[in-house]
């Protein structure tokens, strides 16, 4: 093996230009991959940290459903197509018992998700995502905002909290300034028709973690959002109705205005308009806001807890107790916002793989030329008694040394690049990129994962590159020792 390494190293150093061309390709590829993936890994960590610590918790519990619902209620990808109301957690008290029994539980809070429009007549309206919360438990669980004006909402208080950025945006887009104490008119279109609620602006805040995707979210008292979302009694629990009531509920609009409903021979003066609807107790009951209806339970775990194992344990408990809920991780809770980083990283790696294929083809081409130039040398070795495995080992050693050395150079340069970027930071002004990288100031970190991944890429390039050139080298006959030169 010593001789093979000696020959391999000397061949590489002797053919400097070829070695440097191939080496530069490998180094540049590995450096870019290393820095790119480090950026994405840091972005993923950043998005994970900002979401799990400020908005989703490590675990989110939601009602079981065939459709995807995130922290925002709808899956953003399906926004506009998925108009189903967000399902409410059933058997809430039993679910809560399971959550409270978690040994790794740090804290939890509950949340209702919805959206509506802030009425800015005559200057149009502004879309707003709404989180209906119990302020005390929510802000004890997530220290995500800093009050700039006014104060936090109190438990049971009717009101709304909005971010400074959102208010500025509304002022810019709609030429309407909403000030602290102003009544904010919220419109929503629920499954039971349009709803309007007026709530005072009690607090203006900024997010402690710059999370562009959440600037459009405003916090409202949960009862207001339940009313806007038409989360009335019955959304949480089944209500029993008698057959007569059920027939009315099942009737279509035409049934109410058909010929049989026309009353003849009676004067309008004889009709008791106040009691025309008869007994309204069931209707009133059905329109009562359900004070126990929640969409999500957001759970923070103690430091060092295994979120995946906890989710598994929770789902096993829910299943055993036949509770129609499921626990999901922060990423599912965050929905498309968090998935964007993953998608971007996948696209980045696809581009890298395409570049790697091109680089490998160039390397193979260079190595094939090298084999052609050395047919006499190979033929001589074969004539002197070198078996084919010796020739194979020789070229494999050359390729692996080449890929390994320049791959390591790439890793070192990549590490220096990451360290440099970490020192300086990359300021991101673009909103989309801020969402993508989970931060306005990107600071990648060196990680063992990325070093390992870069080594795998290096080995891959080394292993793939030698196959074809070596197959050519093995076909070189000892006769070439005589017939060439």
């Amino acid at each position: 093996m010593g001789t093979i390494l000696k020959i391999a190293v000397r061949n590489l150093t002797q053919h400097k230009v070829k070695t440097l061309i191939v080496g530069a390709l490998i180094t540049v590829g590995i450096t870019l991959t290393f820095i790119g993936n480090s950026l994405f890994e840091s972005a993923t960590q950043g998005v994970k940290k900002s979401f799990s610590e400020n908005f989703t918790g490590e675990v989110m519990i939601q009602a079981k459903s065939d459709k995807k619902f995130s922290l925002f209620g709808f899956d953003e990808v399906a926004f506009g197509g998925n108009d189903d109301p967000t399902p409410v957690i059933q058997k809430y008290d039993q679910v809560l018992k399971v959550v409270r029994a978690l040994p790794q539980l740090s804290s939890f809070t509950t949340q209702v998700a919805g959206f509506g429009f802030i009425n800015l007549d005559p200057n149009g309206q502004a879309f707003s995502l709404l989180f209906g919360i119990e302020p005390e438990s929510y802000f004890n669980t997530f220290h995500s905002v800093r009050i700039l004006e006014g104060r936090m909402l109190k438990n049971g208080e009717i009101g709304i909290m909005m971010s400074r950025k959102r208010l500025n945006q509304i002022a810019k887009d709609n030429k309407v300034t909403i000030k602290l104490g102003d009544e904010v008119l919220l419109n929503a279109f629920s499954s039971r028709g349009p709803k309007i609620r007026s709530v005072p602006l009690v607090g203006i805040y900024e997010y402690l973690v710059p999370t562009q995707a959440l600037e459009v979210v405003s916090f409202v008292d949960v009862q207001t959002l339940r009313a806007l979302d038409a989360m009335t009694v019955g959304t949480k629990d089944q209500v029993s109705v008698d057959a007569a009531t059920q027939s009315v509920l099942d009737a279509s609009a035409d049934d109410f205005f058909g010929a049989q409903t026309v009353t003849k021979g009676k004067s309008a003066a004889n009709v008791d308009l106040n009691n025309i609807l008869g007994d309204k107790s069931v209707r009133n009951a059905l329109q009562t806001i359900d004070s126990g209806a929640w969409h999500n339970i957001l759970v923070r775990l103690k430091a060092g807890s295994d979120a995946t194992a906890t989710i598994g344990a929770l789902n096993a408990s829910f299943s055993a107790q036949q509770l129609p809920v499921k626990a999901v991780g922060w990423k599912a809770a965050a929905g498309t916002t968090a998935a964007l980083t993953d998608v971007a990283q996948i696209i980045f790696n696809i581009v890298i793989i395409i570049l790697a294929v091109v680089a490998v083809i160039i390397i193979i081409n260079t190595l094939v030329i090298s084999v052609m130039e050395r047919t006499s040398e190979i033929g001589t070795m074969r004539a002197l008694g070198a078996q084919k495995p010796f020739i194979r080992r020789l070229f494999v050693a050359e390729t692996l040394l080449l890929a390994g050395f320049f791959g390591l150079v790439g890793i070192v340069l990549g590490s220096l690049g990451v360290a440099g970027i970490n020192l300086v930071g990359i300021k991101i002004d673009n909103d989309f990129l801020q969402i993508l990288f989970g931060s306005a100031n990107l600071k990648p970190h060196l990680s063992v994962n990325q070093i390992g991944l870069a080594l795998v890429y290096t080995l891959f390039i080394g292993m793939v590159s030698w196959i074809y050139p070596v197959s050519i080298a093995l076909k070189v006959s000892p006769l070439k020792a005589i017939s060439t030169e």
Binding site: T3, R10, R382, L384, G385, A481, I482, E485
Partner: protein, 232 residues
């Protein structure tokens, strides 16, 4: 027993649609310790015969025997092993490994064998060969730092390092000036005499033919003369 024997060996090559008959059926025997010249003009088939004896080419018809063993049915691996253990090569263009030094080139064939350890005995033998070919002061030089004659001396030492019973030399003086060529021939003759190594040359150099103690002349792929001059 002859060390090399060819029995009606033929070699045909396809060249486009025509078949070139390089060797048309030759038979001869070579004894151990011979200093034999296979002579003939270009295209007479001498290099082809040398390649068949050196097990780097196979006859289309007929048989080649090395130390009494037919090589016809041997596989590539076995041919390579036999070639390594039995035959040394000296090429017209020297064919040294460019990245290895003089000493490394000489020891290279030893590293290709089944037993590839550089024992003290082997290192001493390499020292002896380097002294014999007069390159003691050029041990650490690479081929591109040596003259043509020096390179061929390295090639001779390399051919001898495995103590082969046969050394094949394909026009060994063709790329050397006259004085260097003479010196190389004298060196090979000395090795032949001292170590009883069989030397087989393909050549049209009259000086080699004069030195040979067994001459096989070829013309158009056939043996025209096979004799051992008296008193050589």
């Amino acid at each position: 027993m002859s060390i090399v024997e060819l029995k009606d060996a033929k070699k045909f090559y396809a060249l486009g649609k025509t078949t070139v008959e390089a060797v048309k059926g030759v038979s001869f025997q070579i004894e151990q310790g011979d200093f034999i010249s296979i002579a003939g003009p270009s295209g007479s088939g001498k290099s082809t015969i040398l390649n068949m004896i050196g097990l780097i080419d196979t006859p289309t018809e007929g048989e080649v025997f090395i130390q009494g063993q037919s090589v016809r049915l041997l596989k590539d691996r076995e041919l390579t092993r036999l070639r390594h253990d039995t035959i040394g090569f000296i090429f017209q263009s020297f064919n040294l490994i460019p990245v290895l030094t003089t000493r490394e080139n000489i020891e290279f064939p030893l590293l290709l064998g089944k037993d590839n350890k550089l024992t003290k005995e082997r290192r001493d033998y390499i020292d002896f060969l380097i002294e014999e070919v007069g390159l003691a002061d050029r041990q650490k030089n690479r081929p591109n730092e040596l003259s043509g004659g020096q390179r061929q001396r390295v090639a001779i030492a390399r051919a001898l390092v495995t103590k082969p019973v046969i050394v094949l030399a394909d026009e060994p003086t063709a790329n050397l000036d006259s004085a260097t060529g003479d010196a190389i021939l004298q060196l090979m003759k000395k090795v032949n005499r001292d170590l009883k190594t069989t030397f087989i040359f393909s050549t049209h150099d009259a000086k080699i033919v004069d030195l040979a103690d067994h001459i096989i002349r070829l013309k158009d792929g056939l043996v025209t003369e096979n004799y051992k001059p008296v008193g050589v």
